[in-house]
């Protein structure tokens, strides 16, 4: 199972990528009006896919211990980049938040770098202090303080979705690394309470949550996006309306080609494809976890698991939102949604997982048989 996991992982991700580009083709057709080119989004996504492919190769070629050695570089870089977001002319203000850096040629979100840096840092920390991971200071408070620097900066951008994501990934890595549940559980509960507090005190967000409670009532206002997404899913049915025949993408669902791509898939390609996507994510989770568990060392395991958690949680939040199981929170659907930085990050993650897999096979150690097998398998 473990030996085939990387192949399965590869095909699962490839399936998601293909579906993503096909659906982008279908949903962004109305871009003709705005950009004068029906292929505007597809071309850009193609460019990012190219960069993402390089990221896969780089991640797979590079010994993952490189990340262990250079963890501080990434950490420091993401802090600097996150601060740069607030600097005028470099940072871009989009819809009232500072999530983007404008590099003249292209724009990207430093929070994607921060996600990777956070995972590397946590994996590094808990492999360094493996025996102390159940302690309060070294196993819980110090890493949490370090993480809170990133979280605070991202939260300050007003990107609560990514902040929440980081919190979730941090707790999951801590849980796997062995931090006592006595520390995690109260904080997790406190976090939930905090979210409610913020929600109540930020009018817009309260509106979103209220809308989530009763979508039909708020379907013309705050609940519009999710309500329209439900209609998209529902009208698609089992067989779907057929590729390109979706109606909801015609400005009924805002952000149909980015965050709300899944309802479009449900509408045009039907239940089967929607379920296929969910299944692909499950494959990514299972295969990623297998790879992580079988890694050569503790750093590799935590790194791999962190990547899996990051991808899985993002997908979970996205699907939860679009199927109206969660209040509206804009997170892209990994590998499928239009958006460059996230795609590159997620593909780099796959590359790193591949590297962890190959190291896990080759340096397993004691028996020669496994060593032999290891050399044969990748050639399959």
């Amino acid at each position: 199972m473990h030996r085939k996991s990387v192949i399965i992982l590869f095909f699962a991700v490839a399936t998601l990528l293909v579906l993503g580009i096909v659906m982008l083709f279908s949903t962004s057709a109305f871009a003709v009006d705005r950009h004068g080119d029906a292929l505007f989004f597809v071309k850009r996504q193609g460019m990012w896919l190219g960069i993402g492919f390089l990221a896969v190769v780089a991640g797979a070629m590079l010994d993952y211990h490189f990340w262990q050695r250079t963890w501080w570089v990434w950490f420091a870089a993401s802090v600097v980049l996150l601060i740069l977001c607030f600097v005028p002319h470099i940072g871009m203000r989009v819809n009232g938040s500072f999530r983007w850096l404008n590099l003249r040629i292209l724009t990207f979100q430093p929070s994607e770098v921060a996600k990777l840096a956070a995972i590397i840092f946590l994996a590094y920390w808990f492999s360094l202090y493996a025996p102390e991971s159940h302690e309060f200071l070294k196993g819980f408070l110090y890493p949490l303080l370090a993480m809170s620097v990133l979280m605070a900066l991202i939260a300050r951008e007003v990107d609560l979705g990514t902040t929440g994501l980081l919190v979730g990934v941090t707790f999951l890595i801590m849980f796997v690394a062995g931090t006592s549940m006595l520390y995690i559980a109260p904080l997790a509960l406190g976090g939930v309470a905090g979210i409610f507090f913020i929600a109540v005190h930020m009018k817009e967000r309260l509106g979103r949550i209220m809308a989530f409670m009763d979508l039909e009532k708020f379907k013309e206002g705050a609940g519009l996006q999710q309500w329209q997404a439900l209609i998209a899913f529902g009208s698609g049915g089992v067989d779907g309306l057929g590729l390109g025949n979706g109606r909801q993408k015609m400005l009924y669902v805002p952000f149909a080609h980015t965050d709300f791509i899944l309802p479009m898939i449900g509408e045009e390609l039907g239940l089967r494809c929607a379920l296929l996507i969910v299944f692909c994510y499950i494959l990514v989770i299972v295969c990623g976890t297998l790879i992580a568990i079988h890694s050569r060392d503790r750093f590799g395991m935590l790194l791999g698991l962190g990547i899996v958690c990051m991808i899985a949680l993002q997908a979970a939040v996205n699907i939860g939102v679009t199927t109206s199981l969660l209040p509206n929170k804009g997170l892209p659907l990994p590998y499928i949604s239009y958006g460059g930085s996230n795609l590159v990050f997620c593909l780099l993650g796959v590359g790193i997982l591949m590297n962890i897999y190959s190291r896990g096979l080759s340096d397993r150690g004691d028996s020669t048989t496994t060593r032999l097998q290891a050399k044969v398998t990748p050639r399959l």
Partner: protein, 605 residues
């Protein structure tokens, strides 16, 4: 079991997989269980019904020349939710929409504000996002622009990156000939319904059936052409083909216009009718208006006086007692009547002729239009017979021509008469008739005694060109015997001969017949005025086999010389000009060469 990191990792993995299993369940619920419900909702949201207005039928003359037609136009609408620059839009659209620039800018800014407010208000529940009219606000309903103008305006908008004004398809009625034939054609109101003339009478046939169409659209309402549409196409209205011949109409209008310039009458009517079938070949009235610019016209200009005016006909009416007398064989054309010294005392009142006539034949009574002679014929006929013949000629009842607002006229039954009435009626007083009744009655004489129903519509043709309904000639009744009609015609020839009242009505080359009318107008005190006359002439050509009858009537013309203020001097020359051109147009062979006649006359002198 030991809580190794591997075990914990597996637990985390199962946790994540569990979450995704929930999603699978949710997807199945949404896409299978709720499918019908959401599909219905989606269908309802995405498709819209659009009205397709039917093209109104065309009105044509007898040669299928277009007299009234629908022209596709664009009406401008504004959408407050997307318009971006009221000042810029006002600059661009004020002129083509014939609106004041400032006013238009204010209107657009108001729309923009209304949209903004309702957007901020975050209306709860299912309330519409924008109040009515904000996204679909008609700018100036009366100012439409042509398709080309609309296209160039839209292009200009795009160039200046303006948004918020769009155009809708509509039709406007166009009358290519302007005021010509305006009273017959009629007009439409703002709902495209006919309110006058043929437009009103045949509204149901011209209108057609509006179609509709369901189409799918995106959230801004833009149609998704690729998804197709379904519905029922509009069915254009039927075309109405008139009996009017625009060539003749043109002749009549020109002459009437010239006459109006010369005499400035209160009103003027001219009609040409084909006596054998009752077809109206031309019908013109003054005052007139331009149906393309109804708003600029006065209400009183829009009456079709040919069927709506009630006038006392004057001496033209003498054909009724004379025709009756011949038909009843009480008189022959050569019977002499004593018209005395121009004064006839009857029932305590004195009836005048315009000059002493002495002894006259019945033919002479008509030719010289002797009131006394006509009165004596009337007395011989008796009240009841005169009344019944007047009714038989079609007076006092609607002709049922296909024109709205026709009045029946008034002819009172004998029991309401006083002793004088019979002497007055024979000279065309105390009866009220319409010009159309007058020419129809004259057509009885021209048509060998048959009363034909006046026809203005020849046929109705559907949009495929098939004749839906045609209107063949209808004979209402026989009024006079063939012989009596011919005798009257012979008598009427005398009117245009030397010594007759209308020598100026002669058309060179033809022997015509006709009758003048000079009716005193009734003043406000219900007494006859001595300076206001209704002058008329009704003639036919050629007299032996009349191909057309033509009426010319002028009310209260300003005649310089009071002695010329009679029908023979004013209306007859107009008739002559119209008749000459009409004969030429109808290709009537001249009965003799006028040059020859002129030469013989000079020689004999």
């Amino acid at each position: 079991m030991k809580w190794t990191p591997k075990v914990r990792a597996t637990i985390a993995c199962f946790g994540l997989v569990f979450i995704f299993s929930i999603f699978s369940g949710r997807l199945i619920f949404l896409q299978v269980v709720k499918h019908d419900q959401y599909a219905a909702l989606a269908a309802e949201k995405h498709s819209t019904k659009e009205m397709l207005y039917a093209r109104r039928g065309v009105i044509q003359d007898v040669n299928q020349e277009i007299l009234a037609q629908d022209v596709p136009v664009r009406l401008a609408f504004a959408d407050g939710s997307i318009l971006n620059d009221p000042a810029g839009l006002a600059d661009l659209f004020a002129k083509p929409l014939q609106m004041d620039r400032e006013e238009l800018e204010q209107e657009l800014a108001g729309l923009q504000d209304a949209a903004k407010q309702s957007r901020q208000a975050k209306l709860p529940g299912v309330a519409p996002r924008y109040p009515a009219g904000v996204c679909d606000h008609a700018l100036n309903k009366r100012a439409f622009v042509s398709e080309d103008t609309a296209a160039s305006l839209l292009a200009e908008m795009k160039k200046r990156s303006l948004r918020g004004v769009f155009f809708k398809q509509d039709f406007t009625r166009n009358y290519p000939n302007g005021s010509m034939l305006c009273h017959v054609l009629g007009i439409l109101n703002h709902d495209h319904a006919g309110v006058a003339g043929i437009e009103k009478t045949f509204d149901a046939q011209l209108r057609g059936n509006d179609g509709f169409r369901y189409f799918e659209h995106d959230r801004t309402g833009k149609e998704l052409v690729a998804y197709g549409s379904q519905g029922q196409p509009a069915r254009p209205g039927c075309d109405v083909r008139l009996t009017i011949d625009m060539a003749l109409q043109n002749i009549v209008e020109k002459e009437l216009e010239a006459a109006c310039r010369q005499y400035r009458p209160v009103m003027a009517v001219s009609i040409i009718m084909r006596p054998k079938t009752g077809e109206i070949l031309a019908m013109a009235n003054r005052p007139a208006y331009d149906p393309n610019a109804v708003a600029n016209s006065r209400e009183r200009d829009r009456h079709n006086l040919a069927v709506e005016a009630m006038v006392e006909p004057g001496s033209v009416f003498k054909i009724v007692p004379v025709g009756a007398a011949f038909n009843e064989r009480l008189f022959t054309p050569q019977t002499t009547i004593d018209c005395g010294n121009g004064q006839f005392k009857y029932a305590g009142k004195i009836l005048h002729d315009h000059k002493p006539m002495g002894e006259l034949t019945v033919e002479g009574v008509l030719a010289k239009s002797s009131n006394i002679g006509a009165a004596r014929i009337g007395l011989r006929l008796g009240d009841q017979m005169l009344y019944s013949y007047a009714r038989k000629f079609g007076f006092g009842e609607r002709t049922d021509v296909a024109l709205p607002s026709e009045v029946p006229g008034a002819i009172h039954p004998p029991y309401t008469w006083n002793k004088l009435t019979i002497t007055r009626m024979t000279m065309g007083q105390e009866v009220d008739v319409t010009p159309l009744q007058m020419i129809t009655a004259m057509s009885v004489i021209a048509n060998g005694g048959h009363l034909m129903m006046p026809q203005i519509v020849r046929e109705i043709v559907d949009d495929q060109g098939a004749v839906v309904k045609s209107y063949p000639p209808v004979e209402i009744r026989r009024v006079l015997s063939e012989a009596a009609a011919r005798q009257v015609r012979e008598a009427l020839k005398g009117v245009e001969k030397k010594g007759g009242t209308a020598v100026e009505a002669v058309v060179p080359g033809y022997i015509g017949a006709g009758k003048t009318g000079t009716a005193q107008r009734v003043g406000e005190n219900k007494k006859y005025l001595h300076n206001k006359y209704l002058l008329s002439f009704i003639g036919m050509l050629p007299a032996d086999d009349p191909q057309f009858v033509c009426l010319v009537m002028l009310d209260c013309p300003e005649v310089k010389n009071p002695e010329d203020n009679y029908g023979g001097a004013v209306a007859a020359p107009i008739f002559a000009r119209i008749a000459a051109k009409t004969a030429c147009h109808m290709n009537l062979a001249p009965q003799f060469d006028p040059m020859q006649v002129a030469l013989t006359q000079t020689r004999t002198k």
